[in-house]
């Protein structure tokens, strides 16, 4: 196939910016997995919820999505904390399969309540800056995508700093590594679990705010994202921070190029095929060491 | 019956089993001794096909079984139990044992009948209809033994079937194991309860840091200075020796 650089470069750039959002969503998921060792099936649905929240903050209150970060991140942190502490934890009875099923149940509830409340209409927002583009010399790229890219990276850096330098971060790492030991030295494990889930959910809220100006929201959008997020996490190695980041960028590019060469519908296929292949042949992820 | 030759298994940089060799003859009870972390359970796992050895060979009744999957090895007549008991928690004791019995009995009824016989043999008969999850530690150890026995093995590898039992329970299970040998099953056992080892096993191998450091009759092995050192630490043998001499000195 002829490689056409005037098409290829913008597609790659487009992929990188989408990939940064994927990475941020996946960071939340991988953090929850790394600490609680659970797979949060409701992650995509929470993203969808955050997209709606950002949408309504803009349309009803006139709050710009980039400003809404300041509202939605704490709000979704509280939501995530509550879900883990009062729904997931008491319902799972400590069984891994149950946790997966509880989060599946949450996903079903959130998705369908959204369908009921807001119907399946596709909604977008019109911001003044939506069509501004930056000329990079070799390609044009929409301004919101640039903001999304750097916003996502900045939030990822913030998460990293939180985990690395704060007392909470130390407690989270302790629980992730040695739960019973952490309990013995007086760490409230249930609290740390819920904090982690809250932080993971907050990451999703941030991603939603960066995503909305160049994207849309429907009740089904969560399901589309949850598989992408899982693929990112698995590709990067379950529980790996750097892995999720790199895998997110990589997947963004794969999807963008797949769409360019195979068309929208088949382009999606690439992600699932990667997901299956990785799970089968390198379950520790592309960047993980062989166990 | 069982010939293990130069068997080695490494995990990362650690040699869990380091060219270990041992022989078991038909009808024997042989003990595998060694301090915690010596590699006993890994050696068992490598013999029974649960981990693939890096080097060496295992022969069972003259045929090579090195690296075969566990279910194939089980079908050839070698079955192991687990140190950390692994009951099928939701199934009853009867159903648990029947799983083992199904190896040679396709019919459900025959397998259940065989399960009852085996339960009788190990003293689990009163608990047949109880879910395995509700058994006590002693009960679970017996169940572990019963399930293995129900496969009609030629060689039984018992991994600490007495750990966690109180002295009464130990003295109850010793004759059970003797009776199993009496019925023609050869036994290799890992055990920490020395009293039980001495009363059960004729011969013993001692493993330390993955290597066989001593073998012989149980009495010989128990007084081997290298073995005492392995168990009690460096210099222990000399201290024990000098204390014994001091006691015998006029």
């Amino acid at each position: 196939m002829m490689v056409n650089f005037s098409l290829l470069l913008p597609a790659v750039l487009n992929g990188v910016t989408t990939g940064a959002i994927y990475a941020l969503i996946a960071l939340g998921l991988t953090l929850i997995y790394g600490v609680l060792h659970i797979i949060n099936f409701a992650h995509g649905s929470l993203l969808m919820l955050a997209l709606y929240a950002a949408f309504f903050l803009y349309t009803l209150a006139g709050i710009d999505p980039y400003v809404a970060v300041l509202i939605l991140v704490p709000a979704f942190f509280v939501l995530g904390y509550g879900l883990q502490r009062f729904v997931i934890q008491p319902t799972s009875h400590g069984r891994d399969e149950n946790i997966l099923l509880v989060t599946l149940g949450l996903a079903i509830i959130i998705d369908n309540l959204a369908l009921w409340l807001w119907t399946s209409t596709t909604r977008t927002i019109d911001t003044s800056y939506a069509f501004e583009v930056i000329d990079l010399g070799f390609a044009f790229i929409p301004l919101p995508k640039i903001i999304a890219f750097f916003g996502a990276l900045a939030f990822a850096a913030l998460l990293w700093a939180l985990i690395t330098f704060t007392d909470l971060g130390r407690a989270i790492r302790a629980v992730a590594r040695e739960r019973d030991g952490a309990r013995l030295v007086g760490i409230r494990v249930e609290h740390v679990y819920a904090m982690t889930f809250g932080i993971g959910t907050a990451a999703v809220a941030a991603a939603a705010c960066f995503l909305l100006p160049t994207f849309y929201v429907t009740p089904q959008v969560g399901y589309a994202f949850v598989l992408v997020a899982f693929t990112t996490v698995v590709l990067g190695g379950m529980g790996s921070f750097v892995g999720a980041l790199s895998a997110g960028l990589l997947l963004g590019i794969v999807e963008s190029l797949g769409g360019l060469y195979l068309g929208e519908s088949l382009g999606q296929l690439g992600i699932f095929v990667i997901f299956i292949l990785i799970l089968l042949f390198r379950p520790m992820g592309l960047f993980g060491a062989r166990a | 019956m069982l010939e293990v030759r130069e068997l080695s298994k490494r995990f990362g940089g650690i040699r869990a089993v380091d060219s270990a060799s041992l022989d078991i003859n038909e009808g024997e009870i042989v003990a595998l001794l060694g301090p915690n972390g010596a590699g006993k359970t890994t050696l068992f796992a490598a013999i029974a096909g649960f981990v693939r050895p890096d080097a060496g060979s295992v022969r069972l009744i003259g045929s090579d079984i090195t690296g075969l999957p566990p279910h194939v090895i089980c079908a050839r007549g070698l079955v192991r139990t687990f140190q950390i008991v692994q009951p099928f928690g939701a199934l009853t004791v009867r159903e648990n044992i029947a799983v083992g019995a199904h190896l040679h009995h396709a019919s459900r009824r025959q397998a259940l009948t065989r399960a009852e016989e085996v339960a009788e043999q190990v003293g689990l008969a009163p608990r047949l209809d109880q879910p395995a999850a509700t058994l006590t530690v002693a009960g679970r150890k017996r169940l572990e033994l019963a399930r293995a026995l129900a496969t009609d093995p030629k060689l039984l590898l018992l991994d600490e079937v007495m750990a966690g039992l109180n002295p009464t329970e130990v003295s109850e299970i010793v004759p059970v194991i003797q009776a199993i040998r009496g019925s023609g099953v050869t036994i290799l056992l890992i055990e920490h309860v020395m009293q039980a080892v001495v009363s059960l096993a004729e011969r013993a191998y001692v493993l330390n840091n993955g290597r066989i450091i001593a073998s012989g009759t149980t009495a010989e092995v128990a007084s081997d200075p290298q073995v005492i050192e392995a168990y009690l630490g460096h210099g222990a043998a000399a201290r024990v020796q000098s204390r014994l001499e001091a006691r015998h000195a006029p």
């Binding site: 400590g94 891994d96 997966l100 369908n112 | 939701a90 879910p131």
Partner: protein, 321 residues
């Protein structure tokens, strides 16, 4: 035991429905309940008895539905032969997925996710080609007649669905009273111990998923004959996969009549909710999600657990990472 008597009584009552109920609506309603009960039983074989939780059972349903539709529409194959081939295809795909996934030791949440991904791959592929209806679905031409497996009288389909549910219950009974079933449950409870006792893990699990795939494909074939239409989103989408696991979990996993209880209770409650809320889209599904969480929280052994005297069929210890 009580649960089994209740199940048998329920089956007998359900047999009477087409003779007692005149309304077309309620006949269709109970027909769907039976269909989902059998779909749930197919999930139950693998998930309930085998402990392998599939999140993508729609794959097998879809293979059955599209298999028979394509064979009839594109190749003019007789409906019965097409159905039989489609069911065999369901078994083959089940076996192939099983061989691949179990050989590489995927279990627990990983197994769930990879089955979901397989269903999505199938959905996208089916939506992408003209041969498979390219997203618009497949319409089997109306040609009433016994020879075409199309019946004027809907009660015939109802009786067929009822027979399927009876067959499903017999399959479960066989699992509870056979060597294969004993081995499958042993694998569910503890893989290491099962291997040590001579059980071939891969073979056991592959057999279970093959059987499960054939059963789910049967539902797909039945669906197409009944409605003469199927599209890729309906067949391979997440709703069908969720339906399969939901009725089984709410009814009681690893029990003979669990999926039937689950399907009856879930759809009766769902229908009631629909009537009360005036058929608001999505609300009845949200209600299903709520029921799933409530069942996990308060009924760890499902409805069957409520009915039986032995509450601890599933042990708290047999957790897998």
């Amino acid at each position: 035991m009580t649960a089994k008597i209740a199940g048998a009584v329920l089956l007998a009552l359900l047999f009477c429905v087409p003779f007692a109920v005149q309304s077309e609506f309620w006949l269709s309603f109970w027909l769907l309940v039976l269909m989902y009960a059998f779909l749930g039983q197919s999930w139950n074989v693998l998930g309930g008895y085998g402990g392998q939780f599939s999140f993508g059972h729609a794959l097998f349903f879809g293979i059955g539905a599209f298999g028979t539709a394509i064979l009839q529409v594109r190749h003019g194959v007789n409906a019965y032969a097409a159905g039989a081939i489609a069911i065999a295809l369901g078994a083959i795909v089940g076996g192939a997925v099983g061989l691949l996934v179990f050989r590489y030791r995927l279990r627990g949440a990983y197994f769930a996710l990879v089955t979901l991904a397989f269903a999505e791959v199938a959905r996208i592929l089916i939506s992408s080609f003209d041969y498979t209806g390219s997203g618009f679905g497949m319409l089997v031409p109306l040609a009433r007649g016994v020879a075409n497996f199309q019946f004027e009288d809907r009660r015939v389909f109802y009786v067929i669905a009822w027979v399927l549910v009876v067959i499903g219950a017999l399959v479960a009974w066989w699992l509870e009273n056979s060597r294969f079933g004993a081995r499958l449950m042993a694998v569910r409870e503890n893989e290491d111990a099962a291997q040590a006792l001579g059980i071939d893990l891969i073979r056991t699990k592959v057999c279970a998923i093959t059987l499960s795939g054939a059963m789910a494909a049967t539902v797909g074939v039945f669906y197409v004959q009944n409605f003469l239409f199927v599209d890729s989103h309906l067949a391979f989408g997440p709703a069908m996969s969720i339906e399969a696991l939901l009725v089984s979990i709410i009814g009681g996993m690893g029990t003979m009549f669990g999926p039937l209880f689950g399907a009856v209770v879930l759809h009766a409650l769902g229908e009631a909710a629909k009537q009360i809320t005036g058929n608001a889209p999505g609300l009845n599904l949200a209600f299903y999600g709520l029921l799933l969480i409530l069942a996990l929280r308060f009924l760890p052994n499902g409805i069957t657990g409520l009915l039986s005297r032995h509450p601890a069929r599933r042990s708290p210890e047999s957790t897998h990472a």
